[in-house]
Amino acid sequence: MGLKPDPIIILTLIEENAADSVPQLTKPERETREQTQGKKREREMRRWGLLAKEALTQTLTFARFFCLFHVTNHYLWSPTLVFGPSMLPTLNLTGDVILAEYVSHRVGRLGPGDIVFVRSPVDPNKIVTKRIVGVEGDRVTYFKPRNGDSCHTVVVPKGHVWIQGDNLYASRDSRQFGPVPYGLIEGKAFFRFFNGIQRRSFMLVKEVQHGLHDRPVVCGHLIALDHWDNERCNSY
């Protein structure tokens, strides 16, 4: 009783029903079988056309969302999980969620003291987190703690940076693989969300991520860094 049917819908229904029943009632001689079938086909085509249009709109929306997601994660910022002993005491052993930003290294505003994400020159599938100690033209003095504590001085060549972990005793960095070309730098760390996430294996990290539904890290992207566990920490 409270529901008043929309007059437009009623008109459409009447129109469709009238079209279906026209051949039998008003013009039985003029409307031949083929014309009826032609009209039916036309209606079906219209329906398929509407369906296709709807599918295209949904695909475009999905594509727009995906592209926005990609552009934000590669050109603006994204939350990243970092773990490992090479940046103690600045970053935690078991894991930190850090906001990485991708604007500074493109405009060239990186300098000594910045924590950066670098694609490892030893394995291009891994990204490591280290601090920039010297840029091109700087003279860097370093020592290797396990190799007799001898001091070396090197001038960083053009287009390269010298990166070192904060924990000199457990870090594989430019002291082992030399200065790193600037083109390998992926991003700069500038904000830390969480402190000390417990992790025993990579799979556990995934569980933690799913549990934090109201945190921004849920839709961030994880960069798998050098896998660390108790047996292999000596190799760092």
Binding site: L60, A63, R64, F66, C67, L68, H70, V71, H74, R119, S120, P121, V122, D123, P124, N125, P157, K158, G159, H160, V180, P181, Y182, G183, L184
Partner: protein, 205 residues
Amino acid sequence: MSTYLIGQKTCMNCKTLNPQLPLQPCRCILGEISNMAAHNFLWSLTKNCFTFGLIGLTVSDRYASIVPVRGSSMSPTFNPTTDSFMGSLSDDHVLMEKFCLQKYKFSHGDVIVFCSPSNHKEKHVKRIIGLPGDWIGTPMTNDVVKVPNGHCWVEGDNPSSSLDSRSFGPIPLGLVKGRVTHILWPPQRVRHVERKNHQKRHSPS
């Protein structure tokens, strides 16, 4: 929508006497409608440009993009004739695919695009001669160099005018930005870019 009463000749919106009312809408409303239509059109145009820009950027970052090749360091594969008269119009434009960057798996003889180690803003196109673990012989210094882990040795097809690993050494694979698969321009040179093997390389046995 209408802002006039039936029978009245004064528009309620702009308060002017308009003899055409109430049969035709007042000019003030028509002006507003046309402003809104122009505004909507501009807004939808901007939105469409933004969307397609984003989609184009994503596709060229993740899947494939088209790059011009300048210089003759890869003759005769690219730019076989140096035509300074036509300039950049006669440059070869090639299709560079980015699927190889998922696992950084390359083969000998692949033509790749990489950032120069001395200037990250420049990109170079060269061919991979050696992968990690290969020994490369340099006839200049009679040296044999082993390509370290995670690096590759690149050389141009035209050794006389090519700045490559013979000058700056093996480059880290992380600098590679894509692999060239096809030449797309000029139309008479559209073809697939083949892998070519080199005699300089000695694989580990």
